[in-house]
C-alpha cells in the first residue's frame, strides 16, 4: 500500500506550511509592536509641544527670570526646529539619555531606575494574586452552579463580583486602610517597608481584576462543560477533578488569557492611583507630582515607561496565546 509514503510527504508539507504560518505570525506581531512603539514615542514627544503656552515658563512659574527660562529652553533643546528636536529625542531614547528632571536636576533615567522596581513589584504581585484567586474560584463556581444548580451561590457570586469589579481600586484602597490599618491595626497605613506593607496595596489592586477574571473563567467553564467532548469525558467515567481540570480547564483558558492580558495592562495603570493612596515610592506618585510641577522631561519618560510596559505585556500575551491555542490565534487549521 502506498499509504505510508503519502502520509510522510503530507506530513512534510504540513510542517512547512505550519512553519510558514508561524513566521507570518511573528512578522505581523513584530510589525505591530514596532508601529505601536513608534506611535507611543512620537506621542510622548509631541505631548510636550502640545502643551498650550510655553512649557518652560509654566514649569518655572511666572516669577522666574527670563534668562533662566531661556537657558532652560536651550538646555532642553526647545529652540531647535521641531524635526531636529525629534531626532535628538529619538537618539536620546536609543542611548538611554532621557535628559534631566527640571525639578530635581537629577537624570531622569536615574529617577526611573529607583522608582520602577517598586511599581513593577506591585503590579506583578497583584496580577499573580488575581490569577491565583480567580481561576480556582471561577472553576469552582462554574462546577457548582452548572445548569441552575445552587442558585443562591450563583446569585451571591455574580452580584458580589459585579460590585467588586465596579469598585475602583483607589476607593478600595481607602476602605482597606480604614478597616485593616486604622481600625484593626493589623497592617501599616502606608509606605513600603517590609512584607506587611505590601498586603493592602496588592489586595486593593488585585480584588477588582480577580472579580472580573473569575467571572470570565466561570462563563468560559460553563460553556466548555456543555460541550460534546466533556460528555465524552463523563462517559469515560473519569473522576470529577480530572473532568474539570484536565478536560475542561485547558479549553477555558484562551479567553481567560486574553482578558488577563488586558487586566495586567490596566493593573499597571491602576498602580498610579493605588500608589498615591499608600504613598508607595513608585512611578505612580512620581508622575502625579511631576504633572503638577510640570516637570516635562520626567513626565515624558514615565509615560514612555508605562506605555512600553503595556505594549510588552500585550505582545507576550499574544505570543503565549499563539503557543497555547495556535488554531484560533494564528489561523492554523
Amino acid at each position: 500500500m502506498s499509504a505510508t509514503p503519502v502520509a510522510v510527504s503530507e506530513r512534510g508539507r504540513a510542517t512547512d506550511w505550519w512553519r510558514n504560518r508561524w513566521v507570518r505570525f511573528a512578522a505581523r506581531r513584530t510589525l505591530r509592536l514596532l508601529v505601536s512603539l513608534w506611535v507611543l514615542v512620537t506621542a510622548a514627544f509631541f505631548m510636550v509641544h502640545l502643551v498650550p503656552g510655553d512649557p518652560i515658563r509654566a514649569a518655572l512659574g511666572p516669577l522666574a527670570p527670563a534668562d533662566l527660562v531661556s537657558a532652560q529652553r536651550h538646555a532642553l533643546g526647545l529652540d531647535d526646529p521641531l524635526l531636529v528636536q525629534y531626532g535628538h529625542f529619538l537618539r536620546g531614547l536609543l542611548t538611554g539619555q532621557l535628559g534631566d528632571s527640571i525639578g530635581s536636576q537629577l537624570p531622569v533615567s536615574q529617577i526611573i531606575g529607583q522608582r520602577l522596581p517598586a511599581t513593577a513589584e506591585l503590579a506583578l504581585l497583584a496580577f499573580a494574586v488575581a490569577v491565583v484567586v480567580a481561576i480556582p474560584l471561577g472553576v469552582g463556581v462554574a462546577v457548582l452552579t452548572r445548569h441552575g444548580r445552587a442558585r443562591r451561590t450563583e446569585l451571591a457570586f455574580v452580584s458580589s463580583t459585579v460590585i467588586l469589579g465596579a469598585v475602583p481600586d483607589f476607593v478600595l484602597g481607602v476602605v482597606f486602610v480604614f478597616v485593616f490599618a486604622v481600625n484593626l491595626h493589623w497592617l501599616p497605613v502606608a509606605g513600603r517597608d517590609g512584607a506587611s506593607s505590601f498586603v493592602l496595596p496588592v489586595l486593593a489592586l488585585a480584588v477588582g481584576p480577580a472579580a472580573i477574571l473569575s467571572r470570565i473563567v466561570r462563563v468560559e467553564m460553563l460553556s466548555v462543560l456543555d460541550t460534546d467532548y466533556l460528555r465524552t469525558a463523563r462517559a469515560k467515567r473519569l473522576s470529577g477533578p480530572r473532568i474539570n481540570l484536565v478536560h475542561a480547564l485547558p479549553n477555558a483558558v484562551t479567553a481567560t488569557l486574553t482578558v488577563s492580558g488586558l487586566l495586567l495592562g490596566s493593573l499597571v495603570a491602576g498602580t498610579v492611583l493605588v500608589e498615591n493612596v499608600f504613598a508607595w515610592p513608585g512611578l505612580g506618585s512620581t508622575i502625579v507630582q511631576s504633572i503638577i510641577n510640570k516637570d516635562y522631561p520626567l513626565v515624558q519618560a514615565i509615560v514612555l515607561v508605562y506605555g512600553v510596559g503595556v505594549l510588552l505585556i500585550n505582545t507576550v500575551v499574544d505570543v503565549v496565546l499563539a503557543v497555547l491555542a495556535p488554531r484560533s490565534t494564528i489561523g492554523v487549521d
Binding site: A7, H147, G148, P168, V171, F178, K236, G270, V272
Partner: protein, 630 residues
Amino acid sequence: MQRWSRAARTPLGIVGFGLLAVTLFLAVFAPLIWHRQAGDYDTDNLLAGASGEHWFGTDNLGRDIFYRVLVATRLSITLAVSATLIAVVVGVVLGAAPTLLGRWIGRPLIGLVNILVAFPGLLLVLFFAIVFGVGAKGAVLAVGLAGAPTFARLGHTLMAAVAGRDFVAAARASGVRPGRILVRHLLPNIAEPLIVNATIGAGGVLLSFAGLSFLGLGVQSPDYDWGRMMQDGLGGIYVHPLAALAPGAAVIIAGLAFNLSGEAVARALGVQVDVAWRAVVTPTRHRARAAAPPPADDVDPDLVLDVANLRVAFPHGGDVIRPVRGVTFQVRRGEAVGIVGESGSGKSLTALAVADLLEFPAQVDADRLAVLGTDLHDGTDHRHLLGTSVAMVFQDPMTSFNPAHRVGAQLAEAARAHQGATRKQAWRRAVDRLSAVHIHDPHRRARQYPFEFSGGMRQRAMIGMGLMGAPKLIVADEPTTALDVTVQRQVLDMLREVRTTDDVALILISHDVSVVAEVCDRVMVMYAGRVVEDLPAADLAVAARHPYTRALVAAVPDMHSDLDAPLATIFGQPVDPAHVPDGCAYAARCPLADRRCRTQEPTLTSGVACWHPGESLPVPHARDAREVDA
C-alpha cells in the same frame, strides 16, 4: 423605548435604573436644596465625627460632609457625562472615517485607534491630562479623549455592518455629503447599541474622573467633586475616616447606577435564550433518588441491561416535561437492540439515562435500572463498573474529542482511571485499540490531535476508546448521522465486527430504520416517550403491526416493496413533549384512530401498543411527500 422599559423591569434593571434615578435626581436638585448646608462653616465642630447634627461629621473647616457629598453629585455627574459625550462624539466621527472618507484616510485612522485601544484608559487619561493641564476643564477633555478610541472601534464595527446596506450606497452614489450620511443614515441605525455602551461607559468615565480628581489633577478647590473630597479626606483618615469613605461610597453607587442600567438594557436587547429548553438539548447531571427498587431475587447472568419503567423529566418554566414516560426493556449478552423514532421521541434520552449520563436538572426515575445485575440507583458509586463495561459512541465525532489533548491520551486515560494501568501500559493499549479499529499507523496517529483525524477515523477512534476496557454494552447514539455515506458503512461494519468478536451487546439509536434493520437483532420503536412496538429486526419490513412502525418503514424507499409508489414521508408533526395528548399519542397522525384511541392510551402488550395492531391501513396511509409541509 418599549424594550428599554422592559429592561427596567428585570431585577438588574430595577436596581440599576433605581440607582440612576436617585443619582440624577440628586445631581439636579441637591445643590438647589442643600447648597447652604454644604457651604456653612461650623467652626465649633472642625473635623467632627458623625453626630445627630452632622450625620457624616464635618471637614477641617467644619462643613457638613453628608451634604457636601450630596451636593457634589452635580459636579461629579456633569463632568462624567460631558466627558462621555466627548468620547462618544469624537469616537463616532473617528469610527465613521473609513465609511465616509474612504480607505486612504480611514484605514490609518482605524489602525491608530486599534493601537490606542490597547493602552489602558487611565494611561491615556494621564497623557491628555499632561497636555491639557491640571483642572476640571482639562480633565474633562482628557477623560473624554481617552475614551474616544473605544467608541471609535465600537462605532467602526457597527457602522461597517450598516454601511454595506443599499440605502447607504444609494445615498453615497447620489452625492450626499459624508456628514449628512452619518447623521441621517448611519447614526439612527447604530443608536441603540451606542447608547447602551455609552451608558455603561459613563460608569467607567465617572470612576476615571474620580481617580483624576483624587490624584489632584482634576477638580481644584474651592470646587469639589467626589474624587476631590476623597483626596481631602484621605489625610485625616485616622481622625475622621468618613470624610474619605462617604464620597468613595458615592462614587461606587453612581458608577454602579450607570453600569447596571446599561447592562440591563444590553441584556434585554440581546437574544432571549430559554434556559429550560437548553437543558433538554444538553442534559445535565443529577439523578433523583428512585423509590427503593425491589431487589432482584434471581439475576439472569445473561442480562446486560435491565430497565423497568424508566422515566425522564425536566423542569420547564414552572412546569415539568416528561420526554421519556415509562420505558421497559432488556438487553442480553451479545444482543443488538435498535431504538428508532423521530427526533423528540425520547430515544436519545433513554440511551443517556441507561448510561447514567443525564445530569441535573434532568430527573431519572426507574423501577429498575440495572447493568450486569448491579442496580445503578442503589446509591453507591458505579464509576468503575460503567467505565469498564459500558462504552458510548456519540453522534458527532468532530466535537466528541477534546481538542486540547492527543487522541492516544484520550484513549489511554480510561485505562488509567479504571484498570490501574501505568502510563506506558495504557498508551500501548491505546495504540493497540486504534489498530483494532483499523486506523493505519496507530503509533503516529495516537500522538496526533483530533483535528488531524477525519470524521470517520474519529468515530472509529471513539469506538476504540470504548474498547479500552472490556465492554459488555456499547451504546451508540446516532453514530453515523453526521458522517457521509461511504464512511457510514465503515463505522457500521466496525460496530458489527466488534460485536461479533467480543460478544458485546449493542444499543443503536437511530432515526434511520434501514441502518437499524441492517445491524440489529431487535428493534424498539419509540413515540412520544414510550415504546410503541418491540419486534425482531427481520420482521420490520414484513410483519410490523403498529401504524407508526409501518409508516416509518414505508418512508424508507429501499425497504418499500412497491418502488413505483411516490417517496413517502410521515404525515403530521411529532408530539411536543410539553403537550402530550390523552389517549394514544399517535392518534393525531394515525389513519386508524378512533374514539377509543383518542381517550384511552394503549399499553405495550405482546410487543405492540396499539388498539388496532396489524389492521390494514387505508391507502395511502403515508401521504405523498408533496402534501407534507417541510
